[in-house]
């Protein structure tokens, strides 16, 4: 894994070096009619967690997990006739995780614990200054051993004459396939699989089941005054198909074991508001609240606040705190808590009632002339957070964003 990360980072730095001298052009007011690389972001993340409620082992068992991810985002811009701005975004992401519970897809604990996910995406947007509209289309793919996803999206937005208000709507369609990797003791004798999450085993002939997701997102943002702005966000999400995971065990009240079974449809309704306030000259409050409800009986509240303090014009430090609470799903019961006669059942603690706290700190540095001899390096952001759930799950998250212009 270390080799993969170093290769990705090394290739990226070589790539950055190749256009490191072009920053003066890209930041000028000149509108290029040729497609130019305007911005590049490298986002790296490391997350680790511990807990004792793995769904693979039926709600009791280790949740030890480490996840490394690297995403490269490229933004190309060109200006066309009638002052129309066209933006192309190309993203490529690579995650690798090791999850101790994956070993127990086979009852003996011999399955592999590692897995990799690769997810490229591309989209383009055309901004028409005359009509004050933006139209965009995009597509994304995601590949991992047990899960493949293909998606397309469309975006439309319009802003007011004074540019103080903007409305945007986005539609997403995901067509996913879940590979039916069962726990070893519940597996049909014809399929030979050694892992839920990696391609290390012999896998021919394993069937997949389909999952589709249709999502519409609406955002209205508004500049309230010189110091504050607000955005109201609402999503409408409908899912259909196979919505469980086949390697999640459920132990029933009669001590028998089965596989998680969830309804073939789910409707989600999250609505949120962001409110940012610039207090004085150095302090910015970034706040967020979300209410969520779905057709499986879960309702949840999320509230977060982040206070960015500008130590200098180039450095800001932002401690943050997030609180989350949810009710239990209609289909959740802990190990040995559900009768075998129930229509739907899961012991996945993601669907249990719990609260969580997430707190940490964010550093953002915007050097004027770059760093380490790389003049195009325009921003460095580092973020650390500590996460605790009342289920006992604890996690630490480290993130780094390097931006090049």
């Amino acid at each position: 894994m270390r080799k993969i990360c170093l290769t990705v980072v090394g290739s990226f730095l070589l790539f950055i070096n190749s256009f490191g001298q072009s920053s003066a052009d890209s930041t000028s007011d000149y509108h290029s009619s040729i497609l130019r690389l305007e911005e590049t972001n490298l986002v790296s993340n490391y997350y680790s967690q511990t807990g004792n409620h793995s769904a693979i082992t039926g709600g009791i068992g280790t949740q030890q997990l480490n996840d490394y991810s690297n995403i490269i985002e490229l933004k190309y811009v060109k200006w066309g006739l009638m002052d129309r701005k066209t933006t192309w975004n190309f993203d490529v992401g690579l995650d690798h995780h090791t999850a101790a519970s994956s070993a127990y897809v086979s009852k003996s604990g011999a399955s592999k614990t590692g897995g990799t996910r690769f997810y490229p995406s591309a989209d383009f947007q055309v901004e028409n200054n005359e009509k004050r509209t933006t139209f965009g289309l995009g597509a994304a793919l995601s590949f991992e051993y047990t899960y493949q996803s293909y998606s397309v999206n469309a975006l439309y937005s319009k802003h007011s004459v004074d540019k103080n208000s903007e409305f945007s709507a986005k539609a997403n369609i995901f067509l996913d396939a879940v590979k039916m990797v069962y726990p070893s003791e519940l597996r049909p004798v014809t399929s030979a699989v050694t892992s839920a999450s990696s391609g290390g085993g012999s896998t021919p002939g394993i069937p997949s089941k389909l999952r589709s997701t249709f999502a519409a997102s609406f955002t209205f943002s508004h500049v309230v005054n010189k110091n504050m702005q607000v955005a109201f966000i609402g999503d409408v999400v409908a899912q259909g198909g196979y919505l469980g995971l086949p390697f999640h065990r459920v132990y029933f009240t009669n001590k028998t074991v089965g596989v998680e079974r969830l309804p073939s449809s789910r409707f989600k309704l999250p609505v949120g508001v962001r409110f940012n306030y610039f207090a004085g000259d150095k302090v910015i409050f970034r706040t967020y609240y979300r209410y969520y409800a779905d057709s499986w009986g879960i309702s949840a509240h999320t509230a977060s606040i982040e206070t960015a303090v500008k130590i200098t014009p180039f450095l800001s430090v932002s401690p943050f705190y997030r609180y989350y609470t949810q009710t239990t799903s209609d289909y959740f019961d802990p190990k040995y808590g559900r009768p075998v006669t129930a229509a739907y059942f899961t012991s996945n603690y993601d669907y249990s009632a719990f609260n969580s706290n997430y707190e940490g700190i964010n550093f953002r540095f915007t050097p004027l002339k770059g760093l380490f001899g790389i003049t195009s390096l325009s921003m460095i952001e580092f973020r650390y957070g500590h996460y605790v759930q009342t289920t006992g799950l604890k996690g630490n998250n480290f993130s780094l964003n390097l931006r090049f212009k």
Partner: protein, 75 residues
């Protein structure tokens, strides 16, 4: 739970009324604070990782520009 939701609704309507009543037209040259990078009305790029693990470990998702349930073996 229902009482709590009603209370939350009343608070939300009050807050929106307050915000709309305090709206003024802000000219482009007055937007130096609004245009500050820290004032962006979206999650930071550096938050991608935490949005991802929260989507995997919590039942709720969406309304933050991130995942809504499709595209991953998450909730």
């Amino acid at each position: 739970m229902q009482k709590r939701n009603v209370l939350a609704g009343i608070l939300a309507v009050t807050a929106i009324s307050f915000l709309l009543s305090s709206c003024v037209t802000v000219k482009e040259y007055q937007k130096n604070k609004i245009n500050d990078a820290e004032m962006e009305l979206s999650a930071r790029k550096v938050e991608k990782g935490e949005n991802s693990f929260q989507t995997y470990t919590e039942g709720a998702s969406g309304a933050n520009g991130g995942k809504v349930g499709g595209g991953c073996g998450c909730n």
